[in-house]
Symmetry: C2
């Protein structure tokens, strides 16, 4: 990819200024800037600087509070909650994280239930750090109604991602982050922008007919869950864990009709963190290596996060390539 090269630190600083000049407190700007820069650094382009316009549009609409101060609630030795107070989910996670880790280390498992929160980023940045500390983390978040349950005719579920991170000995963690819809919304938007068709089976148009046209999906159409009735069941589970358990809104309850330009779903997020030291076997991170070794023997050439790690290494060496027009725009937005 051609483009100007910028270091991760400089991109974070630039994005911090962008968010800080467009409706976010310093604390929120810092968290969103890191999240967004990590996506760009790792080649996860649908969750990198591509997202800035959506964030700013949502902030300008008054739909999300960029100055919200999350409130952490200590519910039990293994359960904590965070009320994001109509702010973003990531600052709520940042606020609750020390307590969550302490609970997981003391009990072997701990839960963080975030509600009243907007999640507009990738999920892997939320969970990879736990695995780098030797913990296992699982997170789900629901979004806005854009996916038609298997056997139904209109959208109910969000893209509803599930992400998982597990430590390995002497290697980058095993991490995956996947929409339980056929695709992530960001990828549909990028396909539309680039004039590409979607893979067959990705979505339906406004009449409920299968389509591969990203514009038809975005304009009155919808996605479908991945993997038929099974992906649909998982998406339903994510509504129940991400919204009903946390106290957030279901995807179908997100009503931003009074906030023109709103794009950030106002729902909930659940995190489950395990300390594998409480498990009943050999050291988990060694066992994870055993599994990876066997998968390689079976011919697997790429683990889920390896493309991101490769991009990350390149970015650390040479910088992050960004199109000059995109960079100029960010600089203008930074004031």
């Amino acid at each position: 990819m051609s483009g100007e090269l910028i270091s991760y630190a400089d991109l974070v600083a630039l994005l911090r200024a962008v968010f800080g000049h467009n409706g976010c407190s310093e604390a929120v700007a810092a968290v969103l800037a890191e999240n967004c820069a990590m996506g760009e650094r790792d080649g996860s382009l649908s969750h990198g600087i591509f997202r800035v316009d959506g964030y700013l549009s949502s902030l300008a609409s008054g739909w999300v509070d960029g100055h919200a101060e999350p409130v952490v609630e200590d519910a039990s030795p293994a359960f904590c909650r965070a009320d994001a107070r109509n702010g973003f989910a990531q600052p709520a996670l940042a606020a609750a994280r020390p307590l969550l880790v302490e609970k997981a280390r003391h009990n072997g498992v701990a839960v963080l239930a975030i509600r009243n929160s907007h999640h507009f980023g990738a999920l892997w940045p939320d969970i990879e750090p736990f695995a780098r500390e030797g913990l296992i983390a699982l997170s789900v978040v629901n979004s806005f109604a854009c996916s038609v349950p298997y056997g139904a005719q209109s959208p109910v579920f969000g893209t509803n991602p599930i992400a998982f991170a597990a430590p390995r000995t002497g290697a980058d963690p095993i991490v995956f982050d996947m929409a339980t819809s056929s695709m992530a919304n960001g990828d549909v938007q990028i396909a539309a922008r680039e004039g590409r068709q979607l893979p067959p089976g990705s979505g339906v148009d406004s009449q409920g007919r299968p389509t591969t046209d990203p514009n038809a999906v975005l304009n009155g159409g919808a996605l479908v869950p991945f993997g038929g009735h099974k992906g649909s069941a998982l998406s339903m589970m994510i509504e129940l864990l991400g919204a009903a358990l946390t106290g957030g809104k279901f995807s179908f309850e997100v009503d931003w009709s009074e906030h023109k330009g709103a794009q950030t779903p106002h729902t909930g997020q659940l995190l489950i963190v395990f300390d594998p030291a409480f498990g009943g076997g050999l050291p988990f991170a060694d066992r994870a290596n055993d599994l990876v070794a066997r998968m390689r023997e079976a011919g697997l050439t790429r683990l889920p996060a390896e493309r991101r790690y490769r991009h990350r290494r390149e970015a650390e060496t040479t910088g992050i390539p960004i199109a000059p027009t995109a960079l100029a725009r960010l600089r203008a937005l930074a004031g």
Copy 2:
């Protein structure tokens, strides 16, 4: 379906005698009999009396210990383990269940990690009872290498089911139980027995070529994960949670070559139980009803467990229909 009609209680008693006369202690026979009878009662035929031959064959081979007494380990206020001691997983769950429920009620979340265990039944009977007590339950279990990871050439993962149960107000719980392979092994066996082809994309033959022939899958071939790379990632997660975290064996480590007739995978199982009273919102079971109502409005005609519940009601009214030859065989096996 034609056949002799037998009450659930009578079928449980009959199966108890079958297991008791074929290598199981009274305690183990009681648990397996209920599990097996529940499958038959609910029309979940691949996990009903169809499984008896596999159980008995495994018991006769010396691969699994039908007299094992599980040992429960209290690891923390929210984490318990069970060593099934080379016995079945369900008696280990039964032994640990009171402790697990108490932990979940006190902490909002609790984990049970079962290792050194054989799971040969459906998963939903393990978790539905939690939802009937107002709790949310999630369980995963790995099995034996019979599914080829996405992007690999030979089997590494098991059918690796994930099951989830959540309470509703005034209605049967929401329950699903699904293999993360394209199909469950029992369903492949039933298709082979009945001379049916598998749906396209279910598996590969011994040369790694796609096939719809169940015999080709069973004889040197393999299944594939459902939903491509996403189902494959979930299957990998289930190896890590079901085996690496619990201390059980990975599916690819199951080596029953010295035990002719062995069929029960000797691995591990993880259960996570939440008490939704610790969540941050309105009563969970009411919220679950809101979601179901919206799914129905969207045109959904059947929730995942509804077919089972319908069979169950019929069985409660008229009895469970079983082919006379099958019933005669069970009576012979019961001694």
